[in-house]
Amino acid sequence: MTDEELKLKIAACAKCGSCRSVCTLYPERRDEQSVARGKIALIESSLAAPVPLCPGDTIPLGEESDAAIRDALADCLLCGRCERNCPNQVAVEEILVGGRTRLAGKLGLSAWKRWLFGEMLPSAGARGAIRAAGGFAQKLFLRKVPTESGLHYRFPDLAGLHGRTVPALPPSGFVASLPEGEGLIGEVLLFVGCVFDIVMPGIGRAAYETMKASGASVAVLRESACCGLPALASGDREGALKSVTKNIASIRARSPKSVVFPCGSCLTMFRREVLSLIPEGDPLRADADWVSGRCVDYATFILETGLAGRLNPMPVVEKGSVGWHDPCHLSGTLGRGGVARDLLTRVAGDAFREMAGASLCCGYGGTFNVRDYPTSGRLGANKVSLAVRGGTSTIVTACSGCILQLRDMAARFSTKTRVRHLAEIVRELLP
């Protein structure tokens, strides 16, 4: 996005302050910098002419404020509530990402992010190697926490780690564990996503097996790059574009009928962000449109196959003990929360009930969780405790970030609470 385009998008903001009422972060920070209006004003001032024309006009902040503005922009969950609530339909996410990109361009990305987004995430092979090293280190250094959703490891409460837990890395990722000839060709393509491939391969496998059980011929996109969202959110357009270009080419080459996403954030990247990364007129755009239009969420796919009607009934569990958590991107940005609830109603019957605080953000926010774990943790703990107090003992959702976060929170505060992906629920009921 050019500076002029960015300014034009910013001009739509009336500075009304309405975004203060919905911002996930505002109750934590309680200052204007945390909300969209403040962040937009900061970007605007970094773009302003050096001298305001008359009193009251936009005040320029010089380059010496660039680093502070970059930090203010990073202090955001990109949950999209401000944008969805904005009475003036300001493209807040695009503006914030545009601002982050602009500053990343001026100030440079940190060395580890450059490596992560530029080299690591776009390459399936490199990711596997890192996973193996990580799994070994976990066993060596961290304390075990058994939970209802699997073994977790706890970091010590020092050096800013605040007792964070992470799932135990399995010996092998989902794609790596597929037998050689398995899932090579099929009409429907499964885009597993980094987390469900490497960190929680059980979910990748559950998605794959249930999709096959639906009767479809399913191929797995083995050679996938990362969806590109982590890079884009950090302002690394090039890193994101590298992943996206690779993915679009490999998906287009397979010409699937549809591409199914167990992760809502990956799906948002393909349904929405890809189209702003590859503008009209770009030679890649035709392919991007073709691919984007075929991408669907897991629940929609499963409902359309009719598999839900052929499943075993759910074993007796307490009425209303199964709840649904709305991932911001899947339910908010893409509006697929209703479909996921339909699926849950079909498979869980009256065990499913609307969960208290279902649409609250889990507080993960991608790199936000790394940047400010205490705040991210408070938001997550609040979410889980509301759900538990409302009688939910199994939280079901469909986004990798949310599952990482909610499982961490359950491991820390409520080890009896189960956090499941829709696909795991469906797989347990396969006939």
């Binding site: 200052d31 004003a41 009251g56």
Partner: protein, 463 residues
């Protein structure tokens, strides 16, 4: 602001004192979109911190500008002379809701909707409902005397403020008013502070009156061929001795504007729409809604739609709620005025506005609270055409003159701030200005609190 002042403020506030450029920038604006950079921002948690700030300001001579949510439409919280922006957003406790005595005691940073919701849970009702209630604060509402759609029946913020605690410009702490339904001891300082735009005192606590929550609400949307018919219907409703809890008028300009952005089904010849609500006990609501419907039909409504359930009511509100967002789409800049004329003068004013728009080749979109004569007049301009801007400025001045000639006022709820300062004297006259300045001197002799507002003083450019 000098270094000693900064050091002293830092001693009081610790990390709740901010003076980095990015922090200051985020407190330089409000909903007018204009920006003036403060020297620093502080976030007090209690009355004592507010008092100490003002005492320091007296000692070192820097301005203090109270700010709630910065949603004001007249620039009230803009630090036009620099100094410290004192943000009340962290003083946001509801101290008590007393259902026996029907009152609430709150800190100034409480968001209006939060109070309304807390009252609702106890079947109580805090009626003021400015459209900004989900983010605007009680302190800001009191300082601007905010109103809303329900003003026609329930009045405005002023009517619910029983007593206040405030820090004066001298740093003295005053308690005004009562915690009772009545009280006549001495001058009514409470009412004086209400609407004083942060220039007389910083409100640190408010005692507010509550009502029992009405049991139900009925909503009607009537479509008319023209403003005249709608105005006659409004008179008809009043004549039927019904007081609606909302009576919103949208003229052709507003309807056309919405139609360009969202699809709302209505007859082609709709030239004016009237949205009416009645509230109270269910049986009364039904009877009043019948009365309203009869009046609407008698006065030539082309169509009347009616709803009592939540979903149906939302549907009827869609037209009204779509106006503001739609406005943003059709013009880059809007000159947003909120004049009030006596209810009986409404048809004259509406006709004047539509003639003016034709004559000056301007888009002027009008809608508002027909029940109390408050019209939101929006002059839409591209922002790039100098001649258009000149015609628009002249039009605004003409509208203000006509308003005053008709016995009205140039601001019903948004306040003077800096936006209406140039026209202030036109309404209150030289003696009015002089008496107000003398009052100001009594509350704030050194001119510490929110300088540069309400009246033009030396060095203020005409905005």
């Amino acid at each position: 602001m000098d270094d000693i002042s900064r050091t002293r403020l830092r001693e009081i506030f610790g990390d709740r004192f901010r003076d980095a450029p990015d922090d200051r920038l985020c407190y330089s604006f409000d909903a007018t979109g204009r920006e003036y950079l403060p020297d620093a921002v502080v976030f007090p948690l209690c009355t004592e911190e507010v008092r100490r700030t003002v005492l320091l300001a007296n000692e070192f001579g820097f301005p203090v500008v109270p700010r709630g949510a910065g949603s004001g439409f007249s620039g009230g919280c803009l630090p036009v002379r620099g100094g410290v922006v004192l943000s009340t957003e962290r003083m946001d406790r509801i101290i008590t809701i007393d259902s026996g005595n029907l009152l609430a005691v709150v800190e100034p940073g409480v968001v209006t909707e939060t109070l309304k919701e807390a009252a609702r849970r106890l079947s109580l009702f805090y009626p003021p409902d400015p459209a900004s209630m989900k983010f605007g604060t009680i302190g800001g509402n009191i300082a601007e005397c905010a109103g809303g759609m329900s003003a026609v029946k329930y009045g405005v913020t002023r009517d619910y403020v029983l007593g206040l605690e405030a820090v004066l410009g001298t740093g003295e702490l005053i308690r005004t008013g009562v915690s009772t339904a009545k009280g006549v001891v001495g001058y009514d300082l409470t009412r004086l502070l209400v609407g004083s735009e942060g220039t007389l005192g910083i409100i640190t606590r408010a005692t507010l009156k509550l009502l029992p929550l009405p049991g139900s609400t009925g909503t009607l949307l009537a479509l008319f061929r023209d403003n005249g018919a709608a105005a006659r219907a409004v008179a008809g409703i009043v004549a039927a001795r019904i007081t609606p809890s909302a009576m919103e008028l949208m003229d052709r300009s507003a309807i056309d504007c919405v139609r360009r952005v969202v699809e709302i089904e209505m007859p082609e010849n709709t030239g004016c729409a009237l949205l009416v609500e009645v509230d109270g006990a269910l049986a009364a609501v039904m009877a009043e809604a019948d009365g309203v419907e009869a009046a609407l039909r008698t006065h030539g409504a082309i169509e009347v739609r009616r709803a009592t359930d939540e979903a149906g009511r939302e549907q009827l509100w869609k037209l009204r709620r779509s106006i503001s967002p739609a406005l943003r789409k059709i013009g880059a800049v809007k000159l947003n005025e909120d004049i009030v004329v006596p209810r009986s003068a409404l048809p004259v004013m509406m006709a004047f506005l539509s003639d003016l728009a034709d004559r000056e080749r301007l888009t002027i979109v009008n809608f508002g609270h027909a029940g109390d004569g408050n019209i939101h007049v929006n002059v839409m301009i591209s922002g790039t055409d100098a001649d258009e801007r000149r015609r628009a400025d002249a039009a605004v001045e003409a509208i203000f003159r006509k308003t005053i000639d008709l016995g009205g006022t140039i601001s019903g709820e948004h306040g003077v701030g800096i936006s209406k300062a140039p026209f202030f004297e036109m309404e209150v006259g030289p003696l009015g200005v002089s008496v107000m300045k003398r009052l100001k001197a009594a509350f704030d002799p050194k001119g510490i609190l929110n300088p540069g507002k309400i009246w033009l003083d030396e060095g203020m450019a005409r905005s």
